[in-house]
Subunit: 379 residues, 2 copies
């Protein structure tokens, strides 16, 4: 938690639950990634947090943008990004969405199937297209592999076909999975994509671009490799796989860029051992849960760090089950991976949940159980 | 799908995705439940669908309401319900929420822990309170047992304590789990609660109320017992367990009351076999998914029925994986329980998802991937 957020919470005492994002942390992460991989173009994955304040800051820094929908494209344009800095990075697009994006000036589109490629040929004539490959997601806490991407063999046929459809076959992409903690995943994926890249060149299709997707992790509870560790592996792999001339490299960081920037401030509604016995598990119920924005605690996949207003006190601590405020039985965040908290914790105490800048504000439900969406502050 | 909804969709051709609810179906279900259990007071679980049109209709029918939050209490009051028809049925309440509810005239509160009971004693003097017991949720597709409810032994101590705190120990409640398809679950739970009920009477605490919770199922893909089947079991169990004088019975139906009333109209974005081979699984991507309202497809727990605009055509059919429109890898609705659809299905085709009146509109995210919340029509 940054001094700026600490001060904001102390001075403003905002009603809970709320999300407070320090925009300087976003900027720091942009610079760190750019410093580690200066040759790469950074396409911020807007879906991680589309707040105008973040988009404005990234536009000013020179970032490009990976949009999942027409609404996200419009958000980038509203923030001042020119269309050439925006990639329509969702493989799932209605024809009218492609038309609208094209009318807005977007000329970079992804696909992973013949049907989507043909839609692009029809509605985005002359646009640059890249094909998403399916790669292993081993090591990722939030895998993305089953739903997206095609095989090397099929991608080859599609890229050859793209030209016939009047499109510019521009590159290949993959995604090693979100919150990827193994640097080797990038080497494996680059090696796989490079084989097709060279094969296509031999067929007369000179792509020129390789999109490494996102996946760079945020530091939650466990240590993760630094972005420099990833950059070193990626550089070594690019040197090996493209000994003569490396393609243009695109990155699509989302979680990495904004995860550390945010803190959720919440309040304890109830602490109880429901069975009444000292041996019963201690449950801590907060005023935010899986349907208030912390959706990535599903399956306890993303494991946030908790700070309580009693952490500085002396006294015993013990593991707690942590759950949300709704009447829903699945609104439990951590039961297997319990959170150790002071035994003095009680109703009304504040709890700060760290590194919640990514994938929190937008996962939030419109009003499940009558609870309003999360209030957000960008400072 | 009712003729009214069919006509609405045909005539209005609303943009997809949207939810269309036939209010007459809600009324039919209210009457059916009331007819099967005329002695029971029906407390509609607002969380299933808090649309003003539904609350207005149920107020007119004489329903009572089970609220999960202050916002839901206010929705009921706005719809014309008097405070004596509202139960604050969430075991998780901040002190200020209890105060606000009390100020609004609410005098019926649930609890399942000593901490919550003491909050009620302090902030809701003289209110009627009921204690939620933990019971088996076997047979439920959406279990609720781990997060809520206490033991018989502890409930006994709490109920004796309630009197000392200036509260009216009024009843016991349980929840056999949502979408409960086994009638015996109610018999087991009633038998368990009855033992404590009689025990407390012997201690001089005459409760007078038993809240059977919700759980009555909606017909999705599989057949489920009728509400009359449940009523028969419940009546037999009450006769056995309360041979002399039965307590007042409360029911908290949510899913049962509104599930069948709604249809989601959606559109196919893409149909593809991503690997390009005929042996690859066929994926159907819709413009609604887990984050657009169909959250209960998590773990494929709730299995909806799909109708496509090509169902009347001749031709072959085959099973499909069904997924949502977002870039999120977990936004897959059915992969194990595939949906058989016409092989001619393609981008732009309409798909209606039946029995989506409950737990859809409010689970919807505020804007994940830039997709707006579901549009709702109440007719």
């Amino acid at each position: 938690m940054t001094p700026k957020i600490t001060r904001f919470l102390a001075e403003q005492q905002p009603a809970t639950p709320c999300l407070v994002v320090d925009l300087d942390v976003v900027e720091t992460h942009f610079h760190a990634l750019h410093h580690s991989m200066p040759e790469a173009k950074i396409y911020y994955a807007i879906k991680a947090n589309p707040a105008p304040a973040i988009l404005n800051r990234l536009v000013a820094l020179g970032s490009c943008f990976d949009a999942a929908s027409i609404a996200e494209i419009r958000m980038c344009l509203d923030a001042g990004a020119t269309p050439d800095r925006i990639s329509y990075g969702n493989t799932l697009k209605k024809p009218e969405w492609i038309c609208e994006a094209y009318d807005l000036g977007i000329r970079l589109f992804v696909f992973d199937s013949i049907e989507e490629l043909e839609k692009l040929g029809q509605h985005a004539p002359g646009a640059r297209v890249f094909c998403r490959l399916a790669v292993e997601n081993e090591g990722a806490d939030w895998p993305l592999s089953r739903k997206f991407g095609t095989t090397l063999k099929h991608a080859r046929a599609l890229m050859l076909h793209a030209r016939d459809l009047g499109l510019k076959p521009y590159g290949l992409s993959f995604h090693v999975g979100s919150q990827q903690t193994g640097v080797a995943a990038y080497d494996h994926a680059i090696t796989k994509a490079a084989a097709l890249y060279h094969d296509l060149r031999a067929q007369g299709v000179d792509l020129g671009m390789l999109n490494l997707g996102g996946g760079f992790p945020t530091h939650y509870r466990e240590n993760v490799p630094s972005v420099q560790d990833f950059a070193d592996t990626i550089h070594a792999s690019l040197t090996t796989n493209f000994p003569d001339d490396a393609p243009e490299i695109l990155l699509e960081p989302g979680r990495y860029m904004v995860g550390q920037s945010g803190v959720v401030s919440s309040e304890v509604i109830l602490v109880s051992r429901r069975g009444g016995a000292a041996s019963d598990p201690r449950w801590v119920y907060l005023d935010i849960g899986r349907f208030g924005g912390l959706a990535e605690t599903e399956g306890e996949a993303i494991r946030y760090t908790f700070r309580t207003s009693r952490d500085a006190e002396e006294g015993t601590r013990s593991p707690c089950v942590v759950a949300g405020p709704s009447c829903d039985g699945v609104d439990i965040m951590y039961e297997k991976n319990r959170i150790t908290m002071p035994d003095s914790l009680t109703c009304g105490d504040r709890i700060e949940i760290l590194a919640t800048g990514a994938y929190v504000s937008t996962y939030c439900s419109v009003g499940f159980n009558g609870f309003p969406p999360l209030t957000e502050y960008y400072i």
